[in-house]
């Protein structure tokens, strides 16, 4: 049950404060897939954070003279049908994609934990909450997101809300499952015997021990959210067209895919890199955090 934290038999890494506080960190850095994922995602994250600096050209500046320029030294990633800089558009698109993904993750963490903890800890609420999540989970994720986004009107805000609504039931289920396991453990019984309040038991004993599967789930949700946001904006249900999002760029570029493939391929590659990076990251976290899967030292 306990997370065996120190991996024996491995060369000693200097026990700095960081490693002592989070011994997990050392095992993560030994996990190849995690490191590759972290590098990929870290690269996209840096591009998003420093979009102004990487791409000084306004992503919406039209330059008819420079239409359909393939990637070269002046336009690193080429230009689109209106002569806008692809580098700027993809970099700013990364910013919006990651912002929406992050918003979905935060909303999932907050509401997923509240609902999951309520269902798992207060068993009276369990049946009703889980039937509601079942109903929401019965719809295919993207279809439900399209429905909600269409009902609320297209904007990046509604895309974030729609995607949260789709993934929160899944997060709540995961949290509930862990809460069900942890609440029966003896240290929780000990806390009850001491006279601890429900809030204290949940906050100090139950939830901290449910974090590992939640973190893993949230990295995957980040990936799904970025992907689904691209789908929504491709379908015109995300941010309105002049705004550069990966979905919008692909949607606009798809008419010219034969003549100017780079317009669609480059944001597609950015999307693939983000999703792949996050999935590798999530796999690594799962391998290291879940003591039942002993394949961590790959």
């Amino acid at each position: 049950m306990t997370a065996a934290v120190d991996a024996p038999g491995l060369p000693a890494v200097a026990k700095t404060g960081l490693f002592k506080r989070w011994p997990i960190l050392r095992r993560l850095l030994r996990h190849k897939a995690f490191v590759i994922g972290a590098v990929l995602f870290g690269f996209i994250l840096l591009v998003a954070l420093f979009a102004d600096w990487i791409a000084p050209i306004d992503p919406n500046r039209i330059s008819i003279r420079n239409r359909f320029k393939p990637p070269d030294l002046t336009h690193w990633l080429g230009t689109d049908n209106l002569g806008r800089s692809q580098l700027s558009r993809v970099a700013y698109g990364a910013r919006l994609s990651l912002a929406i993904g992050f918003a979905v993750v935060v909303l999932n963490a907050v509401f997923g934990v509240i609902l999951g903890a309520a269902a798992g800890y207060f068993r009276r609420l369990d049946n009703i909450l889980m039937r509601i999540t079942d109903a929401l989970m019965a719809f295919p994720a993207v279809l439900l997101a399209i429905g909600i986004a269409a009902a609320l009107g297209p904007s990046s805000m509604t895309a974030a809300i729609a995607l949260s609504a789709v993934y929160i039931p899944r997060t709540a289920r995961i949290v509930r499952a862990s809460v069900l396991v942890v609440r029966e453990m003896e240290f929780v019984q000990a806390a009850i015997a001491m006279g601890a309040s429900h809030l204290r038991i949940l906050g100090k004993h139950v939830l901290p021990n449910c974090l590992a599967p939640l973190i893993v789930q949230l990295t995957f949700i980040f990936a799904y959210a970025v992907l689904s946001e691209a789908v929504l904006s491709f379908l015109g249900l995300g941010a309105a067209p002049p705004t550069p999002t990966w979905g919008n760029i692909i949607a606009e570029g798809r008419q010219y895919i034969r003549e100017a493939a780079w317009i669609t391929v480059i944001p597609g590659m950015a999307l693939a890199a983000t999703v792949l990076g996050l999935n590798l990251l999530g796999d690594g976290l799962r391998d290291v955090l879940d003591p039942r899967l002993k394949i961590s030292q790959a």
Binding site: T2, A3, A4, E186, A190, M194, G195, S197, P208, N209
Partner: protein, 332 residues
């Protein structure tokens, strides 16, 4: 062992766990009669040993005393107070006077808290002293259970099973309780560590005037630590007696069988063993009459029909068996 005013008086304590079948239209399909009408007392400063096979209801009984499990029926009087009727603040006040030590030294400590946080938690919950005062108290408690004070800054996974059990004991002691439920506290430990922890518990009992309910399936350990012993079988107490009486001349055939199963450290010595046949019957549908009749070597006709009551003899040995206490007139 004065029975004048026992610390704990339990009457007719019962727990039936319902078995619910069906997903949508759930219905009661029966109940596991884990504990079925158990009565006993524990005197101040006394150690009552609770023995029996797995699943006989020892642990459930112990947890019902401190209301970790809500009883189906019965009464628990703790120092003259009806524990089962308490709610909210009153329940919290009585809870600090009874604490529990668990069997599993790995599951009973929160892996994400330091030893300092674990031992100080009961003090925090009951608002005792400030941070510095609590740190001081944790050091004292660690000292009492024989751990160095630098243990306070560490996490549970850095300790061995026996050390973790000491941390659990320190946590239980923090509020200076009167009653300590020891739920198989040494069953998960190595034999060498077991003796240390048992001796620690005995020292603590002497120093802090503790009353123990000591639950175990190890008759040897119970013989060492207990003053009186209760034997449980399938949710009922079949015998309670003074330790010496019970080990010298067990009254109930089940107790006799249990005692004959204790290994004797004398190779080659032949012993008369009573080996029970068959398995423990299901507590969902316990046998009629005496619950032990399906496996009893001395089964009589009446055992199948009439349930024997727990009756005392002149020496204070309580036995529930028709052999020991033949029924006055055959009931129909």
């Amino acid at each position: 062992m004065s029975d004048a005013q026992p610390l704990v008086r339990v009457e007719g304590l019962t727990k039936h766990f319902p078995i619910i079948k069906g997903l949508m239209f759930s219905r009661l399909a029966g109940a596991v009669k884990a504990v079925d009408g158990v009565s006993f007392t524990i005197g101040r400063g006394e150690t009552l040993g609770f023995v029996g096979e797995s699943g006989c209801g020892k642990t459930t009984t112990g947890r019902m005393l401190i209301r970790l499990i809500e009883p189906t029926a019965g009464k628990v009087m703790f120092d003259g107070q009806d524990v089962l009727s308490l709610q909210g603040e009153a329940l919290r006040r009585v809870r600090r006077r009874m604490q529990i030590i668990f069997q599993d030294p790995f599951g009973s400590l929160n892996p994400r808290m330091t030893v300092q946080e674990i031992i100080a938690e009961p003090l925090v919950i009951h608002g005792e002293s400030d941070t510095a005062g609590r740190a001081q108290r944790v050091r004292e408690l660690l000292d009492v259970v024989g751990l160095a004070s630098y243990a306070a800054g560490r996490y549970p996974h850095e300790f061995s099973g026996g050390q973790r059990q000491r941390i659990g004991i320190a946590r239980a002691l923090a509020l200076r309780p009167q009653l300590m439920i020891c739920d198989e506290p040494v069953s998960a430990l190595d034999v060498s560590i077991r003796a240390q922890v048992i001796n620690l518990l005995q020292d603590l009992q002497r120093d802090f005037a503790l009353t123990f309910l000591f639950i175990s399936h190890d008759l040897g350990v119970v013989k060492h630590i207990a003053d009186r012993v209760a034997v449980m079988y399938l949710g009922k107490i079949v015998e309670i007696a003074d330790k010496r009486t019970l080990y010298a001349r067990p009254g109930h055939p089940y107790t006799q069988a249990l005692l004959s199963a204790i290994p004797v450290p004398k190779p080659g010595r032949r012993r008369q063993r009573t080996v029970l046949k068959g398995d423990v019957p299901s507590p969902i549908d316990p046998p009629s009459g005496c619950r032990f009749h399906t496996r009893c070597p001395h089964v009589m006709d009446i055992c199948r029909r009439v349930e024997p009551a727990l009756q005392a003899d002149a020496s204070g040995q309580h036995v529930a068996c028709h052999l020991v206490h033949p029924p006055a007139q055959p009931s129909t």
